[in-house]
């Protein structure tokens, strides 16, 4: 339940925290202010009214001390300020300055206090709102003087004050939230930088590093992140170099073996039939081994030196030359002779990629049926179609992985090491292009490479 209610994300948590903090502080402040102000104002009003009541009581006492004075008249002559009413008990009679005030407004508890000869105050509720009742004994005339002063004005003031304080609290809360938003942006910004750098690194830009900072809080993150990337880059570099080094080291012993087998092959007639068969097998395996080693070295070369030897290469012409050089039908090429198909790249690497696509069609589909070269939206696309069984949609990305093979490869012993298409993909990537597999219109597979066109 808690989890469901908890806000998602660091940023909203920070905003909410700041808003809640601001709300709490401002409510406490406003409440305290209101209580203190209310108490102070009430005390002051009470003191004022009490003083006024005493003064009025004195005036009344003075009038009553005159012989034959009429209490009712004396009361009527009193004009208390602030709309207060005066209630007087003289003997058993009650007199009042207002029509709506009378003995019923004086509670017994106050009467008891005043009856004992001391003054007292009491807050009462009247039909017009809260009021303060002050009672003063007038001993000289055996009378009790009460003054009922309304507190509505004060209540109005307090109500306004409460509204102002509440509004202040709301503004403070909003300000807290706004500050929280700003602070969270500041706090999250370095994280976003880290995320951006990580994305670029994942995309292959291993030279990406976070900029150095003076912020002591971020120093550890930046240093940690950068050293992590350093270690990663070093590791990738080491792995790539290891593959290259191993392949190179394997070349020397392999040379001895290849040459020795050739010496043996020159003496085939001296061999028994079984030895001759074994020699044929060794020769086949050696050819496979050599091709695998060449492919590994080609991959190591691409990995190790991205974007070398760039010249302008017209792809349609290159495909035509490769077809001719491999002894294939030059009529396989489908291209508009008027279309510019020039790309910038490593000619040898591109030749190799095209050759690998043709070899792939030979191995897995019994041959190429067309090679299209055409421009598409700023790129030049080379597509090699075959009329084999095609590649299932779920395998179309996997075939470009290193050592991936055609369907049921485990059971079918195919020539080649499964590096040919990986080299195609790497070459395309090295040139800022892409390689993909789709279905050919004729039902077979279509392997395509797109490379950025050179605009002239």
């Amino acid at each position: 339940m808690r989890r469901a209610l908890a806000p998602r994300g660091l940023r909203s948590r920070i905003v909410l925290g700041f808003a809640a903090g601001a709300l709490l502080v401002s409510v406490v402040l406003a409440g305290t202010t209101w209580l203190l102000a209310r108490g102070y104002l009430l005390d002051q009003r009470e003191a004022l009214l009490t003083r006024q009541a005493f003064a009025d009581a004195n005036v009344l006492a003075g009038r009553l001390s005159t012989a034959g004075a009429d209490v009712g008249e004396a009361v009527a002559e009193l004009v208390p300020s602030g709309g207060a009413d005066v209630i007087v008990r003289s003997g058993d009679s009650w007199y009042s300055s207002g029509l709506d005030a009378g003995a019923r407004d004086v509670p017994a508890e106050l009467r008891a206090v005043v009856g004992r000869g001391s003054a007292g105050t009491l807050r009462v509720d009247t039909a017009d709102g809260p009021a303060l009742l002050v009672g003063v004994p007038v001993d000289s005339a055996d009378a009790e003087f009460y003054e009922l002063a309304p507190l509505t004005e004060l209540q109005q003031v307090l109500r306004t004050l409460a509204a102002v304080l509440a509004a202040g609290a709301l503004v403070a809360t909003a300000a807290g939230a706004a500050f929280g938003l700003w602070a969270s942006r500041r706090a999250v910004q370095p994280l976003e930088q880290v995320a951006g750098a990580a994305t670029r690194i994942a995309g292959g830009e291993l030279t990406t590093r976070l900029p150095s900072t003076d912020d002591p809080d971020l120093l550890a993150i930046v240093a940690g992140f950068n050293s992590m990337v350093d270690a990663l880059a070093a590791r990738i570099d080491r792995d790539a170099r290891f593959v290259g080094d191993v392949s190179h080291e394997l070349r020397s012993p392999l040379t001895g073996v290849v040459t020795s087998v050739e010496v043996l092959a020159a003496r085939r007639t001296e061999l028994s039939p079984r030895a001759d068969q074994a020699l044929t097998l060794v020769q086949g395996e050696l050819r496979r081994f050599r091709r695998m080693l060449d492919d590994l070295l080609e991959l190591a070369r691409i990995d190790g030196a991205p974007g070398t030897a760039t010249t302008e290469v017209p792809l349609a012409a290159l495909v035509r030359e490769v077809l001719a050089a491999c002894g294939r039908d030059p009529g396989l090429l489908v291209a508009d002779p008027d279309e510019e198909t020039v790309v910038a790249g490593d000619k040898r690497g591109l030749e190799r990629a095209v050759r690998n696509l043709l070899d792939n069609a030979d191995r897995h589909a019994g041959g190429t049926c067309a090679v299209h070269v055409h421009r598409r939206e700023g790129t030049v696309v080379v597509s090699v179609d075959d009329d084999g069984p095609g590649v299932p949609a779920e395998d179309r990305e996997r075939v470009f992985e290193r050592f991936a093979r055609g369907p049921n490869a485990a059971r079918r012993s195919l020539p080649g090491a499964g590096l040919g298409l990986a080299i195609v993909a790497e070459t395309a990537r090295q040139h800022g292009g892409a390689a993909w597999c789709s279905a050919a219109p004729g039902g077979g597979a279509r392997f395509s490479v797109s490379l950025p066109a050179v605009h002239r």
């Binding site: 010496v263 080693l293 010249t311």
Partner: protein, 237 residues
């Protein structure tokens, strides 16, 4: 390979490779001499005067580059480099030192013998060839540049230029059609007999070497000129 077998020197410090290579080349009819180190190779070149040489770049104290440079001081025999690393700067360095061609390990002996045959063919091709006896490449008043294909010589005035067999063959090829542009691909096929996927750096390095010998100012070549994006052309002056 009629008549006297060609003498071939194999310089390789890896015993199994050297031995296997010797057997395979002897099967092909060569008279093979071996050298394990650079120093030994120089001694064999001095005493036995081989017709051809196959050199590994990774040798002991004296590496293959030094051997090639040293041999080139006084010999124009074809030199083929054998290297485990074809994509590095090593190949260009070896070609600049004076090697004629290279083969990458692991190779089939057929690759080496095909290259050797090509190198020998062009070495003898000029002799008795059908071309003009004399082509003047540069009419500089005091010392004209004269190519005598049949005699296998190039003279600057009275002085004979020390071209290697390959440089000479390259110059003859370009001189066969003065003013015509030869692509690197075509030169590789004609001079080195490489297939389509040959290394065009071989042509570039040889042109550079040729210029240092025939041009009056190799930095501003006027006889063997580069046609950007297409290839090379010979401009008789």
């Amino acid at each position: 390979m009629a008549g006297v077998p060609l003498r071939l020197l194999v310089v390789e410090d890896d015993d199994p490779i050297r031995t296997a290579l010797r057997w395979a080349l002897e099967d092909e009819g060569y008279d093979v001499a071996e050298a394990v180190s650079g120093e030994e190779a120089l001694a064999v070149v001095a005493t036995a005067a081989p017709d051809l040489m196959v050199v590994d770049l990774m040798l002991g104290s004296m590496d293959g580059f030094a051997v090639i440079r040293e041999v080139r001081r006084g010999h124009d025999l074809p030199i083929i480099v054998v290297s485990a690393r074809a994509d590095t700067h090593d190949i260009v360095t070896a070609l600049e030192a004076g090697a004629d061609d290279y083969v990458t390990k692991p190779f089939e002996v057929e690759e080496i013998t095909a290259r050797l045959r090509a190198l020998r063919r062009r070495a003898g091709a000029g002799v008795g060839g059908g071309g003009p006896a004399e082509v003047v490449l540069d009419r500089f008043p005091d010392a004209p540049l004269v190519l005598r294909e049949a005699a296998g010589t190039v003279h600057r005035g009275e002085q004979q230029l020390p071209l290697t067999l390959t440089e000479f063959r390259l110059l003859c090829e370009l001189a066969s059609a003065p003013g015509r542009v030869f692509s690197r691909q075509l030169l590789l096929e004609r001079v080195w007999e490489h297939g389509f996927f040959g290394d065009e750096r071989i042509v570039d390095v040889h042109v550079r070497r040729l210029r240092t010998k025939v041009e009056r100012d190799p930095a501003n070549p006027r006889t063997v000129v580069t046609v950007r994006g297409l290839g090379y052309r010979l401009d008789p002056q």
